[in-house]
């Protein structure tokens, strides 16, 4: 009865809330002979409904027709945004990192250990030093130097490697701001880990600024990347306790563990199709 024993499909949708939608969607799938295995829903005070259903996949040959009928008979009349995702198809993931390797290596280890339902495709870095470690995971490593002068060219070079080739980009402590053109050209979501409890300490040097403010907890935030720096919809956050004994370097050390965990949880939720964006907020089923 559990999703991992049988082939399953995920249906994610959101639409204006009104009576009867759950029954309508469940009824469509039942009529099509698809058994619902898991269902989550959420209605906001703004009267928008979000749903995630997991059901036993249709035979491959019948899927196109089934999804087309759903679009025409259910989604269209209910002004629904929706997508079907096959659980068995592993999304391809690109990782980008700068100097620090803790998030990068942690994610690679988790992919290898089958903790993350995705397929790492390549690593891009503006530093050279992770090449050997990355190659030991059997992955291509692309060094793309970034300077103030060559930013457009370096983004173009990265786009060349990514566009149409991956389903997700993870910024695993990639310390370069990406332009709106890059994000638009990318054509797939990007998840970033910021080393603070956003919205506190957005921007540069969050640990230094956290230390100066004398906070008693530090945080980390994983969010979708938008053109506005550190302002995209938050997927996951966590905090850890610090004290007056912890200098900036200690905050960075304690923070590394937070960053690894928070980013891994966010990437996992995304790859399991559990995250729906609701304006500047997320629904994480």
């Amino acid at each position: 009865m559990r999703p991992d024993r049988i082939q399953t499909t995920r249906l994610l949708l959101s639409c204006p809330d009104r009576p009867g939608i759950v029954a309508r969607v469940a009824g469509f799938l039942a009529d099509a002979g698809r058994n619902i295995i898991d269902a989550d829903q959420h209605s906001t005070e703004q009267a928008r409904l979000f749903m995630r259903l997991v059901f036993e996949s249709a035979p491959e040959s019948e899927r196109a027709q089934l999804y087309g009928r759903f679009a025409a008979e259910v989604a269209e009349p209910l002004s629904m945004e929706h997508r079907f995702a096959e659980a068995g198809r592993l999304p391809r993931v690109a990782l980008m990192a700068s100097k620090e390797d803790h998030c990068l290596l942690d994610l690679l280890w988790r992919f290898r250990s089958d903790e993350l339902p995705g397929e790492p495709a390549l690593v891009i870095s503006n530093h050279r030093e992770h090449e050997e470690a990355v190659r030991s995971f059997g992955l291509p490593y692309h060094h793309i130097a970034v300077s103030q002068q060559n930013k457009p060219e370096s983004e173009m070079a990265a786009l060349e490697l990514l566009r149409g080739k991956v389903d997700l980009v993870v910024l695993a402590r990639y310390m370069q701001v990406l332009s709106g053109e890059f994000l638009e050209g990318l054509g797939c979501p990007a998840i970033n880990i910021h080393h603070s409890f956003l919205p506190a300490f957005a921007g540069a040097d969050p640990y230094q600024r956290a230390w100066e403010r004398g906070v008693k907890l530090i945080g980390a935030t994983a969010h979708y990347v938008t053109e506005d720096l550190d302002a995209g919809p938050i997927i996951e956050q966590d905090t850890a306790r610090v004290s007056h004994r912890d200098e900036v370097g200690d905050l960075a050390r304690i923070g590394r563990d937070l960053e690894r965990l928070v980013l891994a949880r966010a990437v996992r939720a995304h790859l399991e199709d559990r995250v729906l964006v609701d304006g500047e907020r997320t629904v994480v089923f």
Copy 2:
């Protein structure tokens, strides 16, 4: 669209898992013109399905017939255990406490602040000292002395006050073991707060024993009361950090805050009909 704006009914059910149940239940409610507002479900590896649905209540005059039809047409054929609960009907709650008042007063404050959807009905204690505080909340206070000699009589006196008159008994640091006869006679669930991270330190003096073992975290556990001491299904748990500097008295002090929070969360979940028992485990939607 939110449950608190309109009159709602909760349907809780569990049954052997098989294809089509979600659609069947949702379809029944849709056919009856009942709009589903919230739905949670969980399938266990043991192939049992648990569900909680919240829907717009039927007019009062039609409820009996609707519920009867559901029993006959859906529950019976699917070997389903189920119950309907009207969200607007506040369950009556009895509180029992011994010497310590932190859980007792905390719950009374939460009821008064409308944090807990229930109606406190009475307080029973084997100590006299909380009488004034309890009466200031406008509640009857019953002192029932308990000794090794009079245990059956004291339980009988308590049963007299409780049986058929309340929907839930909360043992808010009530330090007497209740007999199987009492629990059976009660006819409604009882929730206890135990001052340890069960199953560690079940039984007497958990803080003393936690200190002796040198643990670095202490815990609290809210669970349904069964005949086996501290062994009933767990509803909620939490832990707090302690250090070598904390003596037994410090553990008790830190623990009081844990106990208040854990018990309040468990009582709230129960009163919102979010807890289903699955053998020795609970499903908390």
Copy 3:
């Protein structure tokens, strides 16, 4: 051997760090026949030393002379800021609250339960509704209405009740901004609880803004009050997990528990003379 068994004095000090200070201070007390029971110290990267020593009190008749000698022989030559505090002398504490009573009643309950080593002296509120509850704790309740017109007068009335009469003011969800003149006139520290993880969401309506930003944790911050709103040195913070299911009202409910705990811990640390201010930061031993 524990501080609570014998009469103890606390010495708090800070000074430019240099070799030999620990030995110098410990040696002075040893020569004076005072047994050191507990000692904490912290050296910052900015080369400032903070210390808290607990020692067996001198006989009352000898204290003035002892403290004078320490000032002349140790503190003065080492450019030390310091103060002696007798553990047995309970500080007098005023509580100020507005509409919400959770922090107020929680602190009063903790004082009554001897969890907080201080003596509540009076309650001031710009609302009338807590009077009965406060008086049941045996405390005077002063209602001082505050409007945009009468702000200076209302602050003057509060100062009248506080100045020289209490050792600490706790703003237990007091929702009026206090002027610099008031704080200066007060002549003792004031601790505030802010219902966010500062520096995020300083100012008004933090739960509303946290909801809009879609954070996955909410926070509470206890800090010393300065003229800059929500910018004083932080004493204690904590966070709690929320999800997309939690509306603004749920954040407020979950936050109330955080606020109670965080404020109580901060007040306790202050009353035990564990907090030293280091610019915009605190050292909490």
Copy 4:
């Protein structure tokens, strides 16, 4: 002024508590011209004093004499157990692991990133599959098969590699019970990570048993290894929240992150000479 800028020595001691010990120890170091940089102390209710002092190291040529004088003049008369540890001398650490590699690789990564002040010396495993990963860290990998028949021989082979050659053995998910003879022969401490919140679920299959009991939090415990299985003094513990949706495999996955963090914190505290054993408890400064 911070320990990492200058050469420092750590003095750890415990003795029966009595007046004047702090001044006596601090005075000895001051007279010897050694500047105290950090000091922590703890007095138990059982009247035992624990202390950790960090001071500027004596010139290497004078250390033996200084330490000898301390032993004769301070430690001996006060019935003190003590040891001096040079912060600059990195302890040699052996890692032992079985099938799971998460703790092993995490520690190796932390040693390489200079998060842990020690020098990994070798890895012993009863499985072959980590060899390549371990060798990529530049470390020798010793495979020692363990069966019910060859247990004494395999322990002997491990002792051969460890005795007198390392200062600490870390059981990074090493799933074989070590005999009392092995531990005695080892001659240095061993730290184990157990995948439960001890004392709950000591022994085999803790995640399975935690699932069956329906706990709402899982835990991990790092402790010194003694002959009694999972009963040694606890150094560090932590917990993580789980729900009815988490099957045994999910507990194991969530637990892996806990185990990594808890073990790393414990090893770090030990290598920084912050842990003193007090019977079945630890003092962790």
